[in-house]
Symmetry: C2
Subunit: 359 residues, 2 copies
């Protein structure tokens, strides 16, 4: 099967990438097959074995004998380093075609694509294509396109793709061989829809927010109900986050909202936990309690149960306290718990970004 | 390009699945191409358009005119419902071959694979293959295989695959046409490595823990430092989680550990925040404070910075308070912040699972 496919693809393609089957276990036959296919003779690689011993020792383990399978090399192969696992990738060349075998574990494969395959391909390229991605959130792809369709039509030499990440945002990818018109079109689009643009290329919304918080020397505290720690987890994805993130309370019950965060019990009784009033209190009280410049309060009905006619599943309030004001946003999201929680975090980070940009 | 590939693949394959290009924007040409290829005549689908209007109304938006593209159907096509987006899938049949066009957004594609394509394929199958997955955590794939290699060797009619999810766990997938020997082998493997098995097939570790907490009528509270809300977010992934999850504190700074959770300041000074002693205090104090049966304390150096010679990046302590005892685990994880945080959550849930199983 593997050799048949290699035969077939090598007729049409200069570069062939296969993934999976490089593991140490019995079901992994790719390595053996490739050495045979390319007439190479695998020999034990003492140096890499020592490296594996070292790595396992760091996590208090002995390398299993089975991993010896992964410590081989040959005359005709270049081994590709793996920063995330034990299986190295393989690169063979034959009759002008390049064959790459990568592990199937996504993170490991991705690492080798970035560190080895892309630089290799870049070297071989004769014409260069430029690519820029504009990252947006807050509008579905069709509405975004309506807003910029004239710009796309009048820049035909740029390829424009809309890449939605479910309801979390849409990336607009511009591709062309003409670098100047790429930058022109990018500027025009960004000017038109700046409210929805949070970054470019590999920017994440949490990194953008983190940069602004550090620049402005501000600290944040969170009081999360329905998102239950997802926002604080996101805010601390980045190294050095203690500089701007003080901490938070996951106040799932009314008792915690009252006793730990300090929300007025009468407000909870009168308006219910999922209300503008409680979101506002969560935001301001957590800021005071955790001595932070900014307080964020989130309360909502994530679903799938717990909705009523007046307060349906998906109803969510986000409050942001800053400089003695509380900014409140109400969202009517979806019936899906997972989507509602993810979406709330992104929408909230986007509000925070907009607020910080005004500063 | 699309039509050339369809011509080629239809020679060898009965079922052809293509993904992507069903969006409403100008760069999406798959729909038009398919109607032409199969000689079908698309007509506007009034009923689906009304459905789209309804869905957009729920999120306070008007359907953009562009989405009219997505509200077409034809005589020769069966439209496939999309629970997560606006683009419906398409199913054509021609000369005994089946062609499926699905959206490229992973969640939407996955939904249609599960709801439409798999049931369709199952109907057409003449021989049945049985498959069971054993989900494990705590051991690398090579060590797992060493432990069960004799069982695999003596059950040659079962296909055994090891599927690692980075360091988070390994799935062992058994496949065979003989259902009885599948169940036999499964039992033998589970008996041998039961300590590392947390579930089967689509079980998640948080769902297993949630079931046990509900069965035993127990509640949990968390005090998270380095994981900063990731554990509480995981524990509340499931609907009805308020039954067992009370809440938590994300105590990123020493001040919060002391002032909000109630950790003894002298302990913090003497042993440092990342220590067995502080993990233990976090666990017991948060249980008391949030009136919960179980308290979980997590403290560690996630990295990439902040490590010292005595306390390197990756050093992590998990404390679980239950019935007047605190169970402490120390881990020496990796240099990678993201992996350390994810791994800590899974390892912690696995300890909690083992503790609850002893009850």
């Amino acid at each position: 099967m593997i050799t048949k496919s290699l035969d077939e693809f090598s007729q049409d393609c200069d570069h062939i990438i296969i993934t999976g089957g490089l593991g140490p276990t019995l079901d992994d036959i790719t390595v053996k097959t490739l050495y045979e296919y390319f007439g190479d003779n695998p020999v034990f690689d003492e140096e890499y074995w020592k490296e594996l011993e070292k790595r396992f020792k760091a996590i208090n383990m002995k390398v299993p004998t089975l991993n010896r399978n992964q410590a081989h090399t040959g005359d005709k192969v270049k081994m590709i380093d793996n920063s995330f696992g034990t299986a190295r990738g393989m690169h063979f060349e034959k009759d002008g075609s390049n064959y790459f075998a990568l592990p199937g574990v996504p993170k490991e494969m991705e690492g080798m694509i970035l560190s080895y395959i892309l630089p290799h391909l870049e070297e071989k390229l004769t014409s260069k294509v430029h690519c820029e991605t504009i990252r947006t959130t807050g509008l579905p792809e069709s509405i975004l396109q309506e807003k910029i369709v004239d710009l796309i039509e009048s820049n035909k030499n740029c390829d424009v793709a809309f890449l939605p990440h479910r309801m979390l945002g849409v990336d607009i990818r511009l591709t062309t061989s003409d670098h100047k018109s790429l930058l022109d079109l990018k500027d025009q689009i960004v000017n038109r829809i700046s409210k929805y643009v949070y970054g470019f290329n590999n920017d994440t919304i949490e990194a953008i927010v983190a940069d602004k918080l550090k620049e402005q020397n501000l600290t944040v505290a969170t009081a999360e109900s329905c998102t239950a720690g997802m926002l604080s987890a996101k805010l601390t994805n980045l190294s050095g986050s203690s500089q701007y993130f003080n901490g938070g309370v996951v106040c799932y019950s009314n008792a915690l909202k009252r006793d730990i965060v300090g929300v007025d019990g009468d407000l909870l009784d009168k308006y219910g936990a999922v209300s503008e009033e409680v979101a506002s209190e969560l935001a301001s009280k957590i800021a005071t309690k955790l001595k932070s410049d900014i307080g964020i309060g989130i309360t909502g009905i994530a679903g799938p149960k717990g909705g009523t006619e007046k307060k349906p599943v998906g109803l969510t309030f986000v409050g942001i306290f800053y400089k003695n004001n509380v900014y409140i946003k109400q969202y009517n999201l979806t019936p899906n718990r997972k989507i509602n929680r993810q979406l709330t975090v992104v929408l909230c980070l986007n509000e925070l970004r907009k607020l910080l940009e005004k500063n």
